[in-house]
Amino acid sequence: MADGLEVSDLNAWFGSRQVLKNIGLRAPANGVTALIGPSGCGKSTFVRCLNRMHEVVPGARATGQVLLNGEDLYAPGVDPVMIRRRIGMVFQKPNPFPTMSVFDNVAAGLRLAGVRDKNVLHEVVERALGQAALWDEVKDELHKSGSSLSGGQQQRLCIARAVAVQPEVLLMDEPCSALDPIATAKIEDLILELKKDLTIVIVTHNMQQAARVSEWTGFFLMGELIEFGVTRELFTAPRQKKTEEYITGRFG
């Protein structure tokens, strides 16, 4: 059974400041859900709540319900570590482990979880790099340092690292904002390829990008989800005035 992610009544705070107010939306399985909105509107915090990374920051907390295929990630007794194995994440800035080679970066998730079998690791690394459309570029330099790659390659390396542990969901927090248009196009192609296997939630500042890659889009403003719907409808016939003002560039 794969329902994707279903969020309801999600609230999040940094200290006493509330940054998310009663968010509810559904990111369907094997689909791409894009989140747009001006800086500081809470969309990054929102995705970080989905794999319980928000609470890693001192003073941060969140309440509500996030169902992954029917299981509540915020139910008492749920181990955030186990959740993060099922929900991978790619960050804004490429962050490969600098002391590890390309191979070790991709293998890190499994190896540090205790997988030793070399054949298994090789298979997984090749598959993950293939999924990240990076295999052909790095197959002869798997032992070079991960940070010796170009920015776009580093970000695809981070995607490979995230998909190597075979998550059910992949969260992407502005994955292209540090990349040039060519590298961005590669990542966008990749997203369309990856959604065959998993559910993707992507935060982006680039509305064209949201329109290109996603089926569903949510518009965040000041910690609230103003509008959520089918991407084409949201961009062509927004129901909310604020959404229309934002996508036509009248503010934000």
Binding site: N51, M53, V56, P58, V81, M82, I83, R84, R85, R86, G88, M89, F91, K93, N95, P96, F97, P98, T99, A108, G109, L112, A113, S145, S147, C158, R161, A162, V165
Partner: protein, 281 residues
Amino acid sequence: MISFKKRVIVNRLMNFLAGAAAVLVILPLILVFGFLVYQGGSSLNLEFFTHMPKPVGEAGGGMANAIVGTLILIALACCVGLPIGILGGLYLAEARDPRLPWIVRFLADVLNGVPSIVIGIFAYTLVVLPMRRFSALAGGVALGVIMIPIVLRTTEEIVRLVPASLREAGLALGLPNWKVTLRIVLVTARAGIVTGVMVAIARIAGETAPLLFTAFGNRFWHSGLDQPIAALALQVFAYAISPYDDWHRQAWAGALVLITMVFLVSLAARLATRGLQRQTR
């Protein structure tokens, strides 16, 4: 308004003064080193490294036992200082509640400033009195205690330099916090921590005062870690205050060996740091 010509002159003068000050910084080291080579170089031969001290009155002999003794004392000190210093430093860098780290940090800086002879008295009370004899162990404890604050503070500083994004990348892969700390954060900080350890070793290698009533010194090969042990710094001290010319020359040579060891360790630390800078860019 100062004239252009005057400004140029003042500029040249200040440039010269600052450059001269920079050269003066290294002058004492060069003078010390040169003087040591001049006074002790002649006694420095293969025998010095491979032979034991000769009895009083006989010329020649070496400090093989003291060189080995210093290495053993450094190893013992590392056994005491490194686990406490590195684990403590990790805690200071990672703890969420800032109160305990504040106290520890402050007291570690105080400990760093405690005269080394006082640390020697501490080790004497802690180890020598209960064991009822001077020992290599006691010397190692004294030097280890001196290492702790240095290793602690450098580990903390370096671990803090590891970008938070790497820690988040590890957590997002579904790794538990302790694994991220040990296998990602600590490994990334490795080169910097090694540098801190080298600096600490360079610092304790030449310590004499805390060894006077702990390791005590020994004219023979040591016969166990619970027995007194020779150390270069102690031997240099003993020979330097002796009335024999031959011993004086040996003391100079011993000092030369000691300073060369410190130099090499510092150089290694510098090279390790260069590796770190390449990694984190």
